[in-house]
């Protein structure tokens, strides 16, 4: 614009003295504002994290300041009964770990098996059909899985192990269904890791006379191990944070038990049950869900960071 203006003011083509041409980048206010707005959009994610930490920390502090709660008892005693002022988180943590463990026992073999099949054996066409089905399994809402656990898996377990041993609400059913829920995570993430292994490694193994299975297990899987381990850790983090299945199928009593046939309430299940009722602000029940939430947040955060670390530390890089 400025250049045009300068040319236009030249009368009759006579060369007058011009100011020196300024080639520096001109500041554009509009562009700067837009850039700032976009930056602010990015910052919201930081604020969300800060918000989570602040909210959980603040209310947990109120919880631990309460005279009926002691920090030592919270982490060491095995009774959680807010009505009589007993706050030991171990039964909740124990139930969470048990359901997650059962879930991993279901999901790791099935998910990894499916991943190896899809990456190493399946034809292009079979993969095109099977992968979307796995993703479909991942798209089903979790409350539907909760329904499935309570109305399908539990009755089967009860008829297999006997009505007396297996109670209506039990950890095993919840654990199995959470396992089903995380199969797609294990399978798709592991499959990505396996597919990323260069074909040259496979061809070298075939050249040495290895069978397809030997190649898969002795060459491809070890090469992709960091990715597979990371997939397992991410799946574990999902299992720990899963709420609806355990809220519906695992029962509503915080028992400290290692028996998978007995009801036991997980951390997430407890938060869902307590906050489902009428919860008044500032009560010990209200602040307790923040304390449990804080523990849950720390566990999942550690698992997530661990998975990232595993990938970065142990990844085999191929040219």
């Amino acid at each position: 614009m400025a250049d045009q203006a300068r040319v236009a003011t030249d009368p009759g083509g006579t060369v007058t003295t011009r100011p020196p041409l300024d080639l520096r980048r001109r500041p554009r206010i509009g562009e700067a504002i837009i850039q700032f707005i976009l930056f602010a959009c990015g910052l919201t994610s930081i604020f969300v994290t800060l918000g989570i930490v602040y909210v959980l920390g603040k209310e947990s502090l109120l919880f631990f300041r309460d005279p009926t709660v002691s920090l030592v008892d919270f982490f060491t005693t095995t009774i959680w009964q807010p009505s009589i002022g007993k706050f030991g988180i171990l039964p909740l943590v124990n139930a969470t770990l048990m359901t997650s463990l059962i879930a991993m026992l279901v999901a790791i073999p099935l998910g990894l098996g499916a991943a190896i099949y899809l990456a190493e054996y399946a034809s292009e066409r079979a993969r095109g059909i099977l992968k979307p089905i796995l993703e479909l399994l991942a798209g089903v809402p979790t409350v539907v899985y909760g329904y499935f656990a309570l109305t399908f898996v539990t009755p089967i377990l009860r008829s297999v192990f006997g009505q007396d041993t297996v109670e209506i609400y039990n950890d095993l059913s919840a654990g199995i269904v959470v396992g089903i829920l995380i199969i797609p995570i294990v399978a798709t993430l592991s499959e990505d890791a396996l597919s990323a292994v260069p074909t040259a490694l496979r061809q070298a193994a075939f050249g040495l006379g290895a069978t397809k299975f030997e190649t898969a297990v002795h060459v491809v899987v070890p090469s992709a191990l960091s990715g597979i381990v990371a997939a397992g850790i991410i799946a574990m983090s999902r299992a720990v944070g899963e709420t609806m299945v355990v809220a519906l199928a695992a029962g509503a009593s915080p028992n400290f038990t290692f028996n998978p046939f007995k009801p036991a309430e997980t951390m997430t299940g407890h938060i869902a049950r307590i906050s489902g009722g009428d919860l008044s602000y500032g009560t010990i029940d209200y602040t307790s869900i923040f304390a449990i939430g804080l523990i849950l947040f720390v566990i999942t955060m550690v698992l997530n960071i661990l998975s990232r670390w595993v990938v970065q530390r142990f990844r085999e890089v191929y040219e």
Partner: protein, 444 residues
């Protein structure tokens, strides 16, 4: 692993290669093991499909089936084998005066004289007061179809007057009627409307924010916005650079935070701290005095934060896939950075961004846990009137009905699941069609 095998397995590390017939034996044994494992791995993959089929079977089995209804006085006896709609007003009143006790009749008359009531109303009264149909048993589809003789025999023993008939719990009246306390009259109308309201607002909040963040991370992070010639400018440049890295890592971590934690965040921030805003009082339009901030807008804000990482990550991938030559061509024609983004980058990244939108919506539609925590209502009969109304959503209804022990509530939970899955599939289909349309329109 390879090394461990060579040292530990004595058989393979004899130092001599097998010869003659041993080669054949060795190879065929290994191939046999390979074939067995291939079968096992294939089974692992198939199990997922079997589970999906079982899930669908289980839902259909509960959502349809038979019910046994026992009537106190059989319909045929009352209407004398005529259609109730054929009867005149007088006939209907006659039936009522004949069958009901005078006190009940008196009460009805006082409410509104019988002669002034419509025939449909009278038939409803006869149904409720005289016939009194009672649901005595419900049967899942499999039992209803294949064990008919057995259940009929059992039923005639326990309830001799009961009749078995087919019942589809998923019906038009189920979709159009609001929540009710009995399973037969209950519907999901309020829940569907609540879900749609919430989704709409979630998209409104999450997409601009998510796409904005993705644009910043992809288009501006290599930028040095401050003056590089002064030390303060250089310091500020380093700071923004670090902050951008932090944002990227943080988004990855946020995507792994359990959804119930977002619910807790929403409860503390949107429901409690921002109550005047989320209940609408700040704008002078509180729809419901008792909502206390547990409104659609609080739910949508919570859900927006929950899906934000999904939106950002997929939008980032879509923007990254736009070829750099397009940007350079645009700059070469003298376009500014924002002009390039708005006219070149965004349109060609749109199909990919929409794919992310599908993922985000699918996640939001089925999320239950955060909404339980922020306090969605479970029993609500009026349609949501706006963003500041109390609400319920489909997953909450499913959770609530599944948690009840009675069989008929399980049945309507299954019917509601079918509605939810259809909603989910149709939204996905719409988004995929839209994406393909945009992709075909683009000149590539």
């Amino acid at each position: 692993m390879i090394r461990a095998d060579l040292t530990s397995s004595v058989v393979r590390s004899t130092g001599r290669l097998p010869e003659g017939a041993a080669v054949h034996k060795n190879v065929s044994a290994r191939q046999r093991v390979g074939a067995i494992w291939q079968g096992l791995l294939f089974t692992c993959t198939m199990i997922s499909i079997v589970i999906l089929l079982l899930l669908l079977y289980n839902i259909a089995n509960d959502a349809f089936g038979g019910i046994a209804v026992q009537q106190e006085v059989p319909t045929s006896e009352i209407y004398a084998n005529r259609q109730p709609s054929d009867l005149s007003q007088e006939d209907l009143i006659g039936i009522l005066t004949q069958r009901l006790r005078s006190r009940v009749l008196h009460n009805l008359e006082r409410e509104r004289p019988l002669a002034e009531r419509t025939p449909a109303d009278l038939i409803a009264i006869i149904n409720a007061e005289v016939i009194k149909p009672e649901l005595v048993a419900i049967y899942p589809l499999r039992e209803y179809l294949f064990n008919r003789s057995e259940i009929t025999a059992q039923l005639t023993q326990e309830f001799p007057r009961a009749e078995i008939r087919f019942k589809s719990w998923l019906s038009t009246s189920f979709i159009t009627s609001p929540m009710a306390s009995d399973a037969q009259g209950a519907g999901v109308r309020t829940a569907i409307l609540g879900t749609l309201w919430m989704l709409g607002l979630t998209i409104l909040f999450a997409f601009p924010l998510g796409i904005g963040a993705a644009l910043y991370l992809e288009e501006y992070t290599s930028d040095r916005p401050f003056d590089v010639r002064s030390p303060v400018g250089r310091w500020l440049n380093t700071a923004t650079d670090r902050l951008s890295t932090l944002i990227a890592i943080n988004i990855y971590n946020l995507s792994g935070v359990p959804s119930i934690i977002y619910g807790i965040l929403g409860l503390a921030i949107f429901v409690r701290a921002l109550e005047p805003i989320t209940s609408g009082q700040a704008f002078g339009q509180a729809a419901d005095e008792t909502a206390n901030g547990r409104t659609i807008i609080a739910a949508a804000l919570t859900m927006a934060l929950l899906v934000l990482p999904v939106v950002i990550i997929s939008a980032q991938e879509a923007i990254r896939a736009v070829p750099n030559s397009l940007r350079q061509a645009s700059y070469g024609l003298g376009a500014t950075r924002w002009q390039t983004i708005w006219r070149i980058v965004l349109p060609s990244a749109m199909p990919g961004i929409l794919t992310g939108a599908i993922l985000a919506i699918s996640r939001a539609i089925g999320e239950t846990a955060p909404l339980i925590v922020i306090g969605a209502s479970t029993f609500i009969v009026t349609d949501p009137s706006g963003p500041f109304a109390k609400f319920t959503v489909l997953p909450i209804q499913i959770y609530n009905w599944t948690a009840r022990p009675q069989g008929e509530f399980r049945a309507i939970a299954a019917a509601a699941i079918i509605v939810l899955l259809i909603l989910l599939l149709s939204m996905n289909a719409t988004a995929i069609i839209l994406r393909n349309y945009l992709r075909s329109k683009r000149v590539s």
